[in-house]
């Protein structure tokens, strides 16, 4: 039972990693779509606002059920928190930078660029979670 749960945990973290990686792919798709419309980033938005948060929550629940150490459970929910920061970077970047619907400003872009930096941090965190989740799985296998 616990062994199976640990495996499910690893699978969910793997899906979370895939969802995070796809965000970069979808961002490029949106950036190169011509003409640019509100729908250009539809895949990026859907994956980022729906799929990724749900996977993050499921992975965290799986971590708890798999009896992962508290630290690892906390680390598993971290991508969700950083995902919220992703949204706030856009909101605050536009407002602080004084951007309008028609025109961005250099300050706004300086802040908005952090969206990519934070994205890489999120991927790094998930990679770290993946490594520890696999260790957790192997530990169970050897303990048997």
């Amino acid at each position: 039972m616990n062994q199976a749960m640990r495996r499910i945990y690893v699978v969910l973290v793997g899906l979370l990693l895939a969802s995070g990686g796809l965000q970069f792919y979808f961002a490029a798709v949106g950036a190169f779509t011509k003409p640019q419309t509100e729908d250009s980033f539809a895949l990026h938005t859907l994956n980022g606002r729906m799929v990724f948060p749900i996977l993050a929550i499921l992975a965290t629940i799986a971590a708890a059920l798999a009896k992962a150490p508290g630290k690892l459970i906390g680390l598993t929910i971290l991508p969700l928190g950083l995902g919220i920061v992703q949204v706030l970077i856009i909101v605050l970047g536009n407002v602080i930078g004084g951007a309008t619907e028609q025109r961005t400003t250099p300050l706004a872009l300086a802040i908005l660029g952090l969206h990519a930096v934070n994205g890489m941090i999120i991927l790094g965190v998930i990679g770290n979670v993946m490594r520890q989740a696999r260790t957790h799985l192997t530990a169970a296998a050897t303990a048997r």
Binding site: K34, P35, Q36, T37, A64, G70, K71, I73, G74, G81, I84, V85, L88, V91, L92, N94, V95, I96, T100, E101, Q102, R103
Partner: protein
């Protein structure tokens, strides 16, 4: 600082606050007591800073802080006091769970504005408390070295959450007891004959799919009236009777005609489900109304309007005065529309060139048919803004080197005499630019020779129409900010979780609710009605009431100091609040909604209805 600036500061401080409390909890859990104490001190400082920011924000309007003052901050204060108390008395390790609880409370305070609106409701508070409780219990369970029994706490948290969910699912209260509106609006009589001297002008519009070719040769699959987008220009002279027959060939979702800015009798307004049924394929509807308002207007479908208008179901409506002398020799109607991401004036993407002799009086009628605002700049000449939303301004002064922001659905009429020589920086001739773009959707008026380099208007300041032109003397004004109002409605616009057309969604809300759950505004004929429209969210909302024009009283508490400003669409930007008023004189049931049509589809719409 602007209100939206303060909102941004508040969000930033809220983010730091959540990070500091969570960081203190995490460091306490991992045995770094020193760091935990330092972070706690930082968290307390940031929390106090947030209180200061919220007090400043409260000065801009209670709508902006109600959730923070009555719920988020008191709860955070309580959690902070407990956490600091335990930390001081029993050390960092013992304070792990209280510190994390404060972190979860701070996080909920950060996220709350994105999910709940004004006024914040009890069900939202209960669900927030339940979620904070659940997170705290999970943290307790995970961080506790010895097994803890959390069963009864889980039950309590679940009970609070369920109570909140149940309250939230209760049917929303309809003002004046859940009345149902059907298609029997008791509106004004429909005219059957033109005014003396006028004539009957008949138009036939057939809605159908068509491939439309823009001036550049780009083809786009459009929904059209009579195969063109924009649809046929409808023109009339003051006093004419317009009779427009709408048929639908193959627009499966149905169509209507709404006369934007025209105060037609209720039955002619084209609001599906309210004043008529949508015209389905094979169906027809005849609209009749007197052309008794002179000026620049437009028409568009109101059925599934976000998609329909975007795809091309719109056209222009121009009514000229009866007095024979035309005010301008060159009179151009320029509907700005974005076809599949391509900005065009009418069907002209790219640059439209036109030769205009020097000294010619020119009138440009710019109509924003998109769902987003556009920045309009006129380079190479001084000009006057002679009308806004079809209504003439009082003593509009000559301006130059300024741009104007045109709300979605709004119109500006510009007038000038073709200058005798090119002004420096214009690139030769006169240029009208949309969003400062010199090559996409631009108009160039010159002497016929190719015009030179494009003007750069991007740094131009925005003309403030609230102080443009001159006020009427007090006796001539029908009413003003000091009048006594019979009805006073407040609409706070935001985003949040709400039911829209029976489905829960991340909606655009009015007072925290989505269409059709927003209570209907009731007025009596003859009432002087005031609206306060507040934007508490982060998106721009062009507000549009059908069947009436409103007189702007003030924006952000500052009264209009220029010409009286009668609008049918006004752009309420994030952090702004507008006060506008009208005399209720057009009976019926009317849509009152955001003219970012996507927002309207996602809940931001309500009805205004006449008693009796």
């Amino acid at each position: 600082m602007s209100t939206i600036g303060l909102i941004a500061v508040d969000l930033t401080v809220a983010l730091l606050c959540a990070a500091a409390w969570l960081g203190a909890g995490i460091t306490a859990a991992t045995g770094r007591g020193g760091t935990a104490k330092a972070l706690t001190a930082g968290a307390v400082a940031v929390t106090l800073a947030r209180v200061v920011v919220v007090v400043l924000l409260a000065g801009r309007g209670w709508w902006f802080v109600q959730d923070k003052v009555t719920f988020a901050l008191p709860l955070l204060g309580l959690a902070a006091v407990v956490a600091v108390g335990v930390l001081v008395s029993r050390g960092a390790s013992a304070a792990t769970v209280p510190l994390l609880a404060a972190g979860f409370t701070a996080t909920s305070g950060l996220l709350l504005p994105f999910f709940s609106g004004y006024p914040m409701r009890v069900d939202q508070a209960l669900i927030s408390i339940s979620l904070i409780g659940a997170a705290t219990l999970a943290a307790w369970r995970v961080t506790s070295p010895a097994p803890v029994r959390v069963g009864r706490f889980v039950a309590a948290v679940a009970a609070v959450g369920l109570a909140g969910a149940a309250l939230g699912l209760l049917p929303a209260q309809q003002v004046d007891a859940g009345e149902q509106h059907h298609h029997h609006a008791v509106g004004a009589q429909v005219a059957t004959a033109p005014a003396p001297g006028g004539q009957v002008r008949r138009f036939e519009l057939a809605a159908r799919r068509a491939s439309v070719t823009l001036a550049s040769g780009t083809r786009t699959e459009a929904w059209t009236y009579n195969g063109s987008a924009p649809g046929p220009e409808i023109t009339a002279t003051e006093g004419d009777l317009l009779e427009v027959t709408l048929t639908n060939v193959d627009i499966d979702s149905g169509v209507t005609l709404h006369w934007h800015g025209y105060d037609v009798p209720n039955s002619e307004d084209g609001a599906p489900g309210l004043t008529q049924d949508a015209v389905m394929p094979g169906g027809r509807y005849v609209y009749r109304f007197l052309a008794n308002q002179v000026g620049t207007y437009w028409y568009h479908t109101h059925q599934a309007s976000a998609e329909g208008v975007r795809k091309g179901l719109f056209g222009t409506l121009i009514v000229t005065p009866r007095a024979a002398t035309p005010s301008a020799d060159v009179d151009l109607t320029l509907p700005v529309h974005t076809f599949d991401g391509i900005v065009a004036l009418g069907s002209h993407d790219g640059v439209t060139q036109k030769a205009v002799p020097q000294g010619t009086p020119v009138r440009l009628r710019v109509i924003n048919t998109d769902s987003n605002p556009h920045r309009i700049s006129l380079a190479g000449t001084a000009f006057r803004v002679v009308a806004v939303d079809g209504n003439d301004l009082h003593e509009p002064g000559e301006v130059s080197g300024v741009a104007l922001r045109l709300a979605a659905g709004g119109r500006y009429d510009f007038a000038f005499s073709m200058p005798a020589f090119s002004m420096p920086g214009s690139g030769g001739g006169v240029a009208l630019l949309v969003d400062d773009d010199p090559v996409r959707g631009a108009l160039r008026l010159g002497d016929g020779a190719p015009t030179g380099t494009s003007p750069d208007t991007s740094a131009w300041p925005e003309l403030d129409l609230l102080s443009y032109g001159s006020p009427l003397d007090a006796q001539s004004a029908p009413f003003g900010p000091g009048s006594r109002f019979d009805r006073d409605f407040t609409m706070v616009l935001d985003r949040g979780l709400a039911m829209v057309d029976g489905k829960p969604m991340y909606a655009h809300t009015v007072n925290g609710l989505g269409h059709p759950n927003v209570p209907t505004q009731r007025v009596r004929e003859g009432d002087l009605v005031r609206f306060t429209v507040v934007n508490r969210g982060l998106d721009t909302h062009p507000w549009h009431l059908h069947g009436h024009r409103v007189l702007v009283l003030s924006k952000d508490g500052r009264n209009v100091s220029g010409s009286p400003l009668w609008l049918d669409t006004f752009d309420v930007r994030p952090g702004e609040f507008w006060r506008v008023a009208l005399r209720a004189n057009n009976r019926g049931v009317w849509m009152n909604h955001c003219h970012n049509l996507g927002h309207a589809d996602q809940g931001m719409a309500l009805h205004l209805s006449y008693d009796g």
